[in-house]
Symmetry: C2
Subunit: 169 residues, 2 copies
């Protein structure tokens, strides 16, 4: 298959978009998937390697999200595929365990690349400019005990912080 590398610079696309902070785009990639290993994961999960899927993975590897479906569609250049295909591909890629769907209470889902060995983190969202920052090493590994104490199994959680970022204060 010929992979048409239609990924364009996120700065060009998102110019004027305030709620994605440039800061978050530079992210320590030490645990991130590269394209090769991501495609291997996709294959292992019995999904086919198609141009839209490769383009989405490239976009999410090159730019640190989370991004809405629309944003991802713009990132891969609308020419690559239809918006509906982005929805469907994101669903498959999520099933393969490569990306994670986040909800921040604004009624729109966002996706971001998982890190290898499933190291998870939380977000801080500015109430004013909507910038999303990532909290690494949040020291909350044991937080699920609150649910386990209630007899729940297979516990996971979603934790998002909202506030005014230094610039908006």
């Amino acid at each position: 298959m010929h992979i048409n590398c239609n990924i364009i610079a996120i700065e060009d696309i998102l110019s004027g978009v305030t709620y994605i902070d440039r800061m978050t785009l530079e992210h320590d990639p030490k645990e991130q998937y590269d394209l090769k290993s991501a495609l291997e994961e996709l294959k292992r999960a019995r999904f086919r390697i198609t141009e839209p899927r490769v383009a989405i993975l490239q976009a999410l590897i090159a730019n640190h999200g989370p991004f809405t479906v629309e944003e991802i569609h713009k990132l891969v250049t609308k020419r690559v595929c239809d918006l509906v295909t982005i929805y469907r591909c994101l669903a498959s890629i999520e099933k393969a365990g490569l990306i994670k769907r986040c909800e921040f209470g604004d009624g729109t889902a966002r996706y971001e690349l998982c890190e290898k060995k499933n190291h998870h983190h939380h977000h801080v969202i500015c109430k004013s400019c909507k910038k999303i920052e990532t909290l690494d090493d949040c020291e909350l590994q044991e937080i699920d005990r609150f649910a386990r104490k209630r007899g729940f199994a297979q516990v996971s959680h979603s934790l998002e912080f909202f506030g005014l970022c230094p610039a908006c204060k």
Copy 2:
């Protein structure tokens, strides 16, 4: 104004609805608003006391949520007002600080009565039966420090747990 007390028993309405656990309906009401003080709050926030608003508050006082807009509409009996009015009333009542909007990542907002003096809590949601339980006294009062360390002000957070409840295990 004549307040038509059209609230009917939640058991009658929600019969067969699995995702609202009966358990959560019996909730220690020590810090809950009663109708009188809730209406006073509404008045203080410059909102008018209307039949739909009274009915919604009665429903939320009598039944421990969180509930979707549709569920609240059923709780107050569809006769009281249109679904659109429920949306608008919930927005006003939330602005008055009496109820809280929650999002659990299924694309549907839910509302629940606040407790007086703003004592907040978190939820545990069963991945299988979708039952929502409330975690009181979660010992996480200091959790906002994670965001404050990043220079954020006016920090709040949303924390939801997902897992398999004892019955579904």
